[in-house]
């Protein structure tokens, strides 16, 4: 490799060893810096992104001695969402026996084009009906025994996206509601209800 040391020396001793040493003292650090920054990026992202997300859920107090009378709410403000097996979702507005106009039991899909659209339109309708922001929509979520955890989280997520002010998880099923989930065909009392 002595041929490479063609640069002029200037060293008093004139030995080739000194000159070659001087040239090699500068190492090209570009690749090393590249690698270092790559690793930095990796560690930065993994430390911040690995923290799991969480959804806060508050449930009402469950006190067996609690005998405060249940609060009666306007049926026009409530929407009940029933969660069934195989990602089935049925909603009705108002009371099951006497649903408000356009609120008869109907199947919906999860996600943006399904229940979210319905929730948004219903939310706007309720606001128009009550006139005040304090009295928004009330959603009652009823997960059946066959529904799975994903369904529940999906629906709770929709609540967060749509911004439903009041929602509750209720575990009691009336026989009529159970029937709605089991046979799948909603009673043809309302013309707007098309599965």
């Amino acid at each position: 490799m002595a041929e490479l040391n063609t640069g002029d020396g200037g060293g008093k001793k004139g030995s080739k060893k000194v000159r070659s040493k001087k040239q090699n003292s500068k190492v090209d650090l570009t690749a090393m810096v590249d690698l270092a920054f790559l690793l930095i990026t990796f560690f930065m992202l993994t430390t911040t992104l690995s923290k799991p997300q969480s959804m806060n859920l508050g449930l009402p107090d469950k006190d067996p001695k609690d005998d405060t009378p249940p609060v009666k709410v306007d049926e026009n403000r409530t929407m009940t969402i029933l969660l069934g097996d195989n990602n089935k979702l049925v909603r009705y507005v108002g009371l099951l026996a006497t649903p408000v106009k356009g609120g008869a039991p109907k199947d919906f899909e999860y996600g943006k084009d399904g229940i979210r659209k319905e929730l948004l339109s219903r939310k706007a309708a309720v606001l128009q009906y009550t006139g005040t922001k304090d009295k928004g929509m009330i959603v009652i979520i009823k997960p059946s025994k066959k529904s799975n955890y994903r369904n529940l989280v999906d629906v709770l997520d929709e609540m967060a996206i749509v911004g439903v002010p009041t929602y509750a998880i209720v575990n009691e099923f009336s026989p009529e509601e159970a029937k709605l989930l089991s046979n799948g065909t909603p009673p043809a009392t309302d013309n707007t209800a098309k599965p």
Binding site: F37, M55, N56, L59, D61, V153
Partner: protein, 198 residues
């Protein structure tokens, strides 16, 4: 002159880069392998779980696994549980328990799991922490973890449920009921990340 300026001196940049790299490596916590991996459902909620003062209940296949953050809280919880169920854990067991992952065995069998090698723990099928009304150890674990956390950190323990997406609702409900029996009405559901629009 012109020729020289093309290559910059990277020494300082390299120093800084490696300093930062060292920092991030050291602050990164090693991921503890999970005893029962679950597939969490996705949500758009952006809140993160707290780093400490947290107990996680992992629910999957009808089984519940229990985990508390913080070595000191873990050791104290184990001690309290040992006292309650008449199982004695040695000093080594407690230390080992402090650094191990979540577990899903009755407290009577916990000693065996603690004494196993970390690599072997994954191989055994853990039956889950008992949560029946007759033998509700899960409730006791939660209760004692809360006591331990208040003793040591002077803060209320937060609870998180990490459920498998395919888990049936009654199991989740059962766990929620256990929490509610202790007047824990506010807890978190661990979810995965999903973009704003599906």
């Amino acid at each position: 002159m012109k020729k020289k300026s093309t290559s910059t001196d990277m020494t300082a940049m390299c120093d800084v880069a490696f300093l930062l790299l060292t920092f991030f490596i050291l602050t990164a916590t090693a991921k503890v392998p999970e005893a029962m991996p679950v597939d969490t459902p996705a949500s758009t909620v952006q809140t993160k779980l707290p780093e400490k003062d947290l107990a996680t209940l992992t629910v999957g296949n009808g089984k519940v696994f229990f985990d508390v953050k913080g070595k000191d809280v873990r050791m104290r919880t184990l001690e309290l549980m040992g006292n309650k169920y008449g199982v004695t854990f040695s000093e080594d067991d407690q230390k080992q328990f402090a650094i191990m992952e979540s577990f899903g065995v009755p407290v009577q069998n916990l000693k065996q799991i603690i004494e196993m090698k970390p690599s072997d723990r994954k191989k055994v099928q853990q039956p889950g922490v008992p949560k029946d009304s007759l033998d509700n150890q899960l409730a006791d674990w939660i209760q004692n973890a809360r006591i331990a956390n208040i003793e040591l950190h002077d803060k209320e323990l937060e609870l998180a449920i990490k459920g498998d997406a395919k888990e049936e609702y009654p199991v989740i409900k059962k766990v929620m009921d256990i929490l509610q029996d202790q007047k824990i009405n506010n807890f978190s559901l661990v979810t995965g990340l999903r973009g704003k629009e599906k």
